[in-house]
Amino acid sequence: MKQYETVIGLEVHVELATRTKIFCGCSTAFGGEPNTHTCPVCAGLPGSLPVLNKKVVEFALAAGLAAHCEIHRLTKFDRKNYFYPDNPQNYQISQLYVPICHDGWLEIETGAGKKKIRIHEMHMEEDAGKLIHDEWEDCSLVDYNRSGVPLIEIVSEPDMRSAEEVIAYLEKLRYTLQYLGVSDCKLQEGSMRADVNLSVREAGSRELGTRTEMKNLNSFKAISRAIEGERRRQIELLEAEKPVQQETRRWDDNKEYSYAMRSKEDAKDYRYFPDPDLPPVEISEDWIRDIRSRQPELRDEKMPRYQAEYRLSAYEAGILTDSRHLAGLFEETAKACKSPKKAANWFLGEVLRLQKEDGLDPEQVCFLPEYLAALIQSLDDGKISAQNAKLVFEKVFRENIEPLAYIEEHGLKIVEDSGALEAAVREALAANPGPFSELKGGKEKVYGFFVGQVMQRMKGKANPAGVRQMLEKIVKES
């Protein structure tokens, strides 16, 4: 068999995290009752007119600048005409002729090293509504709540050669856009959607093969499987000396197979033309400078800084920067705390554990970083046991309770009173004559058992090191 190379380009649609829609003031919130987030504009009523949401331009600019794009200083909107009920005007307002951003790149890193993926363009457009087919009633219903939600479409050049590169590119895009606050980029919820353009060619060939476009890819896993499946399908065709058809295919992730949706011949004529309702948008140098100056530290800059500044491993820095929100909480905790390394350990351990246990998105975690810092300090000062600190943190995490007051109120502070400790130690020794004699016989391991016993009797309010000292003292005396 010949050697083949896979050539992949992506068209990624990203829903922007603006509060209101792209051409009207309706809410973009997810999950409202059908057709409640609508108005004459996004429901396509006669006589209504679009007015561009400036925030959409700013988000598109932020995304474009982060991806090293050139900016068209006079960007225009075009109408893409096609009849479908999810589209109330029967045209989508998009950008064909002069998209806002063009000719950029993102760098990815895979097992094979670093590589630049070129970005052909980014353009702004509006989302469509949602059709619901009621098989039972044999009718279709349409919900225009999503109609007019802002999107940017990011079109890459055909620079990727494997599923691994595709996933790395998508991850890079996702982190970048999430850090910019431009989108939450959730594939499962549809706020990030990727269409895969794929062709194969004989290794060493410079010409591109005939490509197919694959849709309906709802997870990174589905994307990987679809790429593998399509690569194999096209190679089999070529091996059998059959041509690959230029067509759009729909991936069925359950059956792990793609089906032809439409061929190039039935490609629609969208009759694009400049939207006369929207004047061109002028993007000034000042505006660009302003967006650039407001750009936050991106993950690519944060990760190496964490490694250097907090002496964390690449792995740890990776986990801590997975979400910009959690990274922000961590940085504030680290700042308020004498030991950033300890703050990192709390995040890597307890914070992530509780987030997972409570089924929260990283963005939903919202305790006060000062509280965790204070708790870490109490632990450091030997004022609370590690075990109790974890219990108190659960309260901080879930209810944002001030930890020091809570420790006082619930009597969780380590008891400094040596009389009470001595009594507890004697009690524990008396209650366990067997292990006690082993201890006297010099079996060091048994200390651990007794520390546990004493801690239990002290309800955790003892310092384990102090317990051990007291134990040693009494054993020596006896």
């Binding site: 006589g47 005409n81 033309f273």
Partner: protein
Amino acid sequence: MELGKHSALELADLIRRRQISVTEAVKDTLDQIDRQEKEIHAYLYIDKKNALARAKQVEKKIAAGDMKGPLAGVPVAVKDNICMKGGKTTCASKILENFVAPYNAHVIDRLEQAGMVILGKTNMDEFAMGSTTETSAYGVTRNPWNTGRVPGGSSGGSCAAVAAGEAFLALGSDTGGSIRQPSAFCGVTGLKPTYGTVSRYGLVAYASSLDQIGPIGKNTADCAAFLEVLSGHDEKDSTSVKREDLDFSSALGKEVRGMRIGVPKEFIGQGLQPAVRQAFMDAMKAFSGMGASVEFLSLKTVDYMIPAYYLIASAEASSNLERFDGVKYGRRAADCAGLHDMYRKTRTEGFGPEVKRRIMLGSFVLSSGYYEAYYLKALKTRALIRQDFDRAFADFDVLLAPAAPFTAPEIGSSLRDPLAMYLGDIHTVAANLCGLPALSLPCGRDESGLPIGLQIIGDCFQEKKILRAASAFEACRGAFSMAWEKEAD
């Protein structure tokens, strides 16, 4: 019909001075409607109850001093392509036969704030596509001067209503002459403002880059006052312009001595009805007589105006009218086999032949392979036409032209030859292509007594120059009676 001899401003003045009440004014106009409407059919809907209720409200506000506008209490008619909350807006099309807008067009809010009383919605060519009001799905409107003639179009209902004394003022829309040409045919005054001066929000779009709402009235002063009510920036329309110079009435009553007036000679070439030519020449003389300099000039792009206009207007219309599909509102065809059959049947039944013709033409010129050859070329032509006018306005304050090459044709004579009908728009389309303000006012009558319109075109934002010239001409011409007064003569 006692009050009909007054202009809108005079009526409002009588109301302010408590010589008559708003209710009396509205009742008097409704009576005139009752007398005339059977024959004229200017209106598609008349809401008497609402108008009388509104009259009472306005009366109270005027009495309380809360409503001081110069047109408060004036009965007004609205073209049926302008959305009014709670009432039907059909655009004279079957496809919107049951459409009730849930919101007000910006201009409706404006005229309500000004205390004007809306009587009803007027007939028009379907979706404003036509020059005679005969493409309406709801019957023809007859010209009040001669009921065998068309009122012109597409704002034929609005112009006929003013001419017949069925309203003191009316709203029209002008995409290629739809205010000016019917104003000429009906012997009333109509103004298409500079593109962006009046918000299009709530105007059902025909061709978005050309459409503009404007006032229709008995004289220039009424139109200027009405435009002051309608104009102003609206953030809901992205093409709305921020202007400071909206005190249009200040331009009235000034002399035209020294004004530089240009006459594009291509506009008075062949195809002009002799009476129209004579009236136009007389108007030129009148301006010279008043001390203005009147000179001929040449617009080299005249031959390209109609093609560029119909390509651009149809292209935009084909997209603007896509939303009428039976899915969300308006008419839906019965007994459909699936989505595409529903689209096809609904649109086949819902649109008339002229609308279909323009949708097909527009879809064609936007199709891949034809876009560059037709649509893009039309856009380039539009830019060249604009340059032609820029050159003209470097030398002239305003341009004079006929509003139409002929007076009102007979009902039934125009639609047989659509191309000939399109060519009749030769004098008006350029103002839309270039966004220019232009006004038509009566300047005479032909041998059968039908009114002839004089068009005054200005550079963008130069409405005041137009109004200055128009009011001077009006003073020189003398009173031009309304159609219903002719019978009383």
